[in-house]
């Protein structure tokens, strides 16, 4: 084994060793917030969903906003890494695993929300088509059943997609560790020996999975969009919601990826591996998606405004100049102006500005889901039924807890597995050496 390869392994294994007090100082308080979120959920289960702020006519609130937001974040991994894998983009190599891990964890969190928001969460499995003595089936015409199908498929698919390229790395780790870690890595390595046949099979499996996961990812967020656009509610019943949501999902996914990479780079001292070159490329992707998102947003709102249909205008007015206007215009600034200025002007584009833009994009994209869900519900067709919405401490606690949960899960993953794929990185390193 040459020196360069040994350096790579040393650098990328270093974060796995030991637990520093700084690591604990981050993980423990965040875990407490997560615990608080679970307590809030337990409180809701015990007392009834009424402890949340949702009310007639706003039957869907923060939980659905969080649901769409996290499913959106999950598009970081799969789409980015699948697209880059399929197009054989060399620069993707240190990026893919960080992205794929985001997908799996964001999906776990996002997938919880449809259950959290149920009136009777303990019988959520009635949506699953399982054989039962009463011969009852779920209603396959309901977008919520499509949702359940799409998201569970996506979770299984993206877990496989994360796991497959992990196999050669854990096989290596199993050789060089002891105790429970060795036990864990050996189980996960599935008896990988590194023969040509295995490498070949892995390559083929990854190509296949990249293709499959791409289709699944697009369909998942389309189905999430259809939860809304299948309803006859004003401003929901829109034909472009499918692609609009997919674009928004990739947009927020890239932002999440940039933030995760910037944090990993600093805290794990991986500056040599995650270079300004990677951030530059991702920043350009983020800018591209920002423009696409803006295009969709303009198309969606301009046509509604020009059409001047009273029921739609009630919602449009509430968004653009009514009670929801502060959220709406903050969203426009966060999602369009900030990335456009910081990343569009070449001189300003750097790791720092990409990080700033990514944070505002995440805020903006959360607000976007709020802007899509709440104003429509608060302005139903019969004006006598109009209402409002304000979240309760339960919804806010659970929402905040999802963010801390994400960080805790991600940091735990980075402690157990190399966050940069070592075997994929090494050949690339050798090429650049020669």
């Amino acid at each position: 084994m040459n020196n360069a390869a040994q350096d790579v392994r040393r650098d990328l294994w270093r974060p796995l060793q030991g637990v520093s007090w700084r690591y604990l100082a981050v993980i423990l308080p965040l875990s407490l917030v997560t615990l608080w979120g679970l307590i809030a959920w337990g409180y809701q289960l015990h007392h009834g969903i009424g402890v949340a702020g949702i009310r007639r006519p706003v039957f869907w609130g923060f939980y659905l906003v969080d649901f769409v937001f996290w499913i959106g974040i999950s598009h970081a991994g799969t789409l980015i890494s699948a697209i880059l894998r399929l197009t054989d983009a060399e620069w993707r190599k240190p990026v893919t695993r960080a992205a794929e891990a985001i997908t799996v964890f964001a999906l776990m969190i996002g997938g919880m929300f449809p259950i959290v928001h149920l009136g009777r969460a303990w019988i959520f499995y009635w949506l699953v088509p399982y054989p039962n003595s009463r011969l009852l089936w779920p209603n396959f015409r309901s977008p919520l059943v499509w949702d359940l199908t799409a998201i569970s498929t996506y979770l299984i698919g993206s877990t496989i997609f994360l796991f497959l390229p992990l196999i050669p790395d854990v096989a290596q780790l199993a050789k060089h560790t002891t105790g429970w870690r060795r036990w864990l890595y050996r189980r996960l390595a599935l008896g990988w020996t590194g023969s040509d046949r295995e490498w070949h099979a892995l390559e083929r499996a990854m190509k296949l999975m990249a293709g499959i996961i791409l289709a699944v990812a697009v369909s998942v967020h389309t189905v999430v969009a259809w939860d809304f656009s299948m309803a006859v509610a004003p401003m929901w019943h829109s034909t472009i919601f499918g692609p609009y949501f997919v674009a928004g999902a990739i947009f927020s996914g890239i932002a999440a990826l940039i933030i995760a990479m910037a944090v990993i780079r600093k805290t794990m001292r991986l500056e040599q591996y995650l270079t300004p070159h990677h951030f530059n490329n991702l920043a350009k992707l983020l800018l591209l998606m920002s423009l696409l998102w803006t295009y969709f947003t303009v198309a969606e709102n301009l046509t509604a405004w020009y059409g001047n249909e009273p029921k739609e205008m009630a919602v449009f007015g509430a968004r653009a100049r009514g009670v929801y206007a502060p959220y709406f215009w903050t969203m426009v600034v966060c999602n369009f102006f900030v990335p456009f200025v910081l990343l569009g002007i070449k001189k300003l584009r750097s790791i720092k500005t990409a990080l700033i833009a990514s944070v505002t994009v995440l805020i903006g994209m959360w607000l976007e889901r709020y802007i899509i869900i709440i104003p429509t519900l608060s302005r139903p067709r019969l004006t006598a039924a109009w209402g409002s919405y304000a979240p309760s401490w339960v919804e806010i606690s659970i929402t905040v807890a999802t963010f801390t949960t994400m960080v805790v899960l991600y940091l735990s993953f980075a402690k157990l597995f190399p966050i940069i794929s070592i075997w994929e990185f090494k050949p690339h390193d050798r090429v650049s050496e020669s």
């Binding site: 007392h47 009834g48 969903i49 009424g50 949702i54 009310r55 007639r56 006519p57 039957f59 869907w60 449809p114 928001h117 149920l118 009136g119 009777r120 969460a121 019988i123 959520f124 009635w126 949506l127 009852l136 089936w137 779920p138 209603n139 015409r141 309901s142 977008p143 919520l144 059943v145 359940l148 939860d227 299948m230 309803a231 006859v232 509610a233 519900l377 139903p380 067709r381 019969l382 004006t383 006598a384 039924a385 209402g387 409002s388």
Partner: protein, 225 residues
Amino acid sequence: MGAKVSEHRWGMAIDLDRCTGCQACVAACHAENNLPVSNPEQAAKGRAVHWIRVDRYYEGEFPNVRVKYRPVLCQQCDEAPCEPVCPVYATYKNPEGLNVQVYNRCVGTRYCANNCPYSVRFFNWFDPAWPEPLQLQHNPDVSIREGGVMEKCTFCIQRIQRAEEDGSSDIQPACVQSCPAEAMVFGDLNDSESNVSRLAGSGRATQLLGELGTKPKVFYLERAK
């Protein structure tokens, strides 16, 4: 399955020119259908349950204001938007054309309520509670709904069932029975001789948000302008 033609197709006509907005129908519905009693905080939040409500619309500028009342209850749509979106078939069309809610099957997604253009679906945010001694006047023919399930007007299906068992043809939902102005008429739309059929076919009949193609079975009678 197939297209089974049912004997009955229940419908209602409400004469808006007769309605005085007295809310007797609302009170009668509460008593008949064991509706949960709200409290001031929950009511202020918009969580009070009224299977029938009287919407008020104001016309003109002060001081020449005209108030128009419109009692709104489940329109028992033939093409109900609430039905296809339910993931567990908790809401479906029964053989007599009623849009019914199966409380025990409902998991509480609230999708049906979002997709109802009339906003007539109500959710049990908590387990229902009645201040003593109101629980003693519960109607034994109507089930109590637990927290976390959706509910709405049933056209007093318990009275329809009772009448069918007794072989009687005199069926009146609680709201119709209690309307002092006799603004509401209930009956069988399949019977061309019934009052409701006559009124539904009259030139004064309109359907609320009929342009959505929901085909409501509640007809509002108004003086043609």
